[in-house]
Amino acid sequence: MTNPSLPSEPTRRDFLYIATGAVGAIGAGFTLVPLIAQMNPDASTIAAGAPIEVDLAPITEGQVIKVTWRGKPIFISHRTAEEVKQAQSVPMSQLKDPQTDQDRTKTGHEQWLVVIGICTHLGCIPIAKSGEYNGWFCPCHGSVYDDSGRIRQGPAPLNLAIPPYRFVSDSKIEIG
């Protein structure tokens, strides 16, 4: 210890320095956890994002209503038999984001289309029952969706997203 020319000393000292630096760095790393985590959704926001129930009975055929779940607009479209037929008959080759209408609806409830009403381009809310495909038209940058909420024209890359939902009964769904 007292003789600095001993060859073992530098190694031991280096180890001490590296250990101290490493422990300090680990501490700094863990300090970042709460600083970053605090910006994630808090417990009340998560609790408020619990599933909601929507009664479908008042929605007449051909009508589109808008409900809100987790701050997002959800379009619920009660499609006519004609619209369903049209949506189901589109060849996949014409679709930018190929997906059948059956994949976008629940079996036995094909007349009901439930989509998140947020344009997949940059987050604007498209207008229902407009555009050349009788679906949605986004006024921000001109994306056009069909009556199954699938992207047909414009800059949006994907179809309108389907939220998690299930039929509680024939006339009631639970979103979330």
Binding site: L16, T20, V23, G24, Q38, D42, S44, T45, A50
Partner: protein
Amino acid sequence: MSGPSKFQPTHPALKWFEARLPIVSLMYDSFVAYPTPRNLNFLWTFGAILSFILVIQIVTGVILVMHYTPNVDLAFTSVEHLMRDVNYGWLMRYAHANGAAMFFFAVYIHMFRGMYYGSYKEPREVLWIIGVIIYLLMMATGFLGYVLPWGQMSYWAATVITNLFSAIPWVGEPIVTWLWGGYSVGNPTLTRFFSLHYLLPFVIVAFVVLHVWALHVVGQNNPAGVEPKSDQDTVPFTPYATMKDLFYFSAFMLLFFWFVFYLPNYLGHADNYIPANPSVTPAHIVPEWYYLPFYAILRAIPNKLAGVIALFASILILAFLPWLDTSKVRSGTYRPLFKIFFWIFVAVCILLGWLGAKPAEGGYVIAAQILTAWYFLHFILILPVIGLIEKPLPVPDSITEAATGGHKKKVGVAGAIVALAVLVGLAAGTGKAEAAGEQPKPPQLTWTFAGPFGTYDRAQLQRGFQVYREVCSACHGLSLLSFRNLAEPGGPGFTTEQAAAVAAEAKVKDGPNDQGEMFERPGRLADRFPSPYPNPQAAAVAFNGVAPPDLSVMAKARTYERGFPTFVFDMLTQYQEAGPDYIAAYLTGYEDPPADFKLPDGGNYNKFYPGHATAMPPALMDDLVTYTDGTPQTAQQYAKDVAAFLMWAAEPHLEARKRLGFQVMIFLLVLTGLLYFTKKKIWHEVEKPREIAHGQDPKATKI
């Protein structure tokens, strides 16, 4: 800072950058090559510690702002939302609140160190004055921040401190109205205080930069008080000062986190967990401990204007210290007479702090007046005179001579530690003092959640909730809690289904619906507990003019005076259960009034209630609530269970806090130990002059 830079870049990119903005060389010269006296003791690390705390305060503060709402109706609940719902929100707030206290604790050591070692003397006058400005800014910032939670102490602190300006002749009233932005402290006051509280820390940062700049121009003072004369007297800032600063900062963090994790509310006032009420002043209003000496000076003087002048003068006089001290010798180590008066002055400050927490009456006022007089005399009479008449001890020729001979300085250092520990202890504890009067102390009960490893007893919390639901909830709300909390970890441990069932039994007001009407529906997990009365006025009408208070944070809003020296030991034993102890005692503290006690109409005699006449009638009696787990059905047991439940309601993350605290403490102990040995290793060569004599320049060490 003078002469060409010691930084000589070799990399072409760095050379290119240096020629355009020499910031790297500035940093290098300031924090790497900068020569610091080799004999600095640990008191010199507080400058670095303060810089680190400032960073902690700014980081946590910026985060708090992300979740806080500066509005009189929402401020208190937004702070509680932060404490309950935001991820690690409780940690951010407790770190910020205790960080303020630690900031002042460290700055007081820093200031007393400067005063003892004459760090304000030529050529460091400007450095010192910038320090006084920083201290003033800190006081303003601390006060503004204290107002933001909008509790009772916040509101009344704002009222009292802004009213200081009403003492100014002629323009006092208009100035106070201007400060308030109204005819009393209100929403405009809160929003502007919020704005300024965000601004001032950055002004402090600017002044800290000036402080460090001035320091690096004149160089650091040192315990010997003589300027470095040769290269042998100094060591480079890095690694010597950096490692020492880091080690002491890490050790300081142990103290800091002791409070954050185990005593988060020890330094605060229970009354600040009561939402601001502009029509009721708390019985005993005192500032935070770090303002107490000045508060004592304010109250010592019976004239309003003179009191305010004395208050400000007691701080501003510090700026004149360089010219009031007439001694040519810098360090108190070599000034036998000064040393005595310095420690008397420290004692005077401590005692003023103690008096600041006492009621302004009788002997306390006289004592405060004597000590206030001494405080000022120390500056305007004692310091100038002893500088002239004192015969100083021989001052060493050089720092190296001082550093290699004798241990005398250690005594003063030890004395300083003891005195300051007492200062903090006394001031902090007396700050908790409640209204005076003969008051029996609630018995100290055994709680499962006490101590560093405390956890809630789930069964007890469930029983306590049952008592709340069947008895208390008829009159008292629990408005800051949500039904989901009942099923959250660290709580009573109900299942989600049980919590949902409790929620479904409640009627919650919602709306408006499609018809634009409000309606009632069964509660859901995300809903808050509905209060039994729509508003405090309705509750007051139903209860003879006194609204039953909300119980959400009651366990933190009540306490009792612990007295000296118990409150000092409380810091070590981590006693934080004054609230539940008081609640349990209060609920069972009803008895017949003594013959000479005049009970007001509608009052009930309770031996633990301050003033004894409480509006609430006894609510608990044996066999009132049917327990299903075989626990004795006594009023005493009910009181204890509901007090434990209310502690959880007030502090739902207590278990997570203590768990994380233990991990942090272990980590910090390891880090502090490693830093200690690293520092020792690095300093080893400097502190062994034999090796220097052998021609090994310690400053050749590079990290």
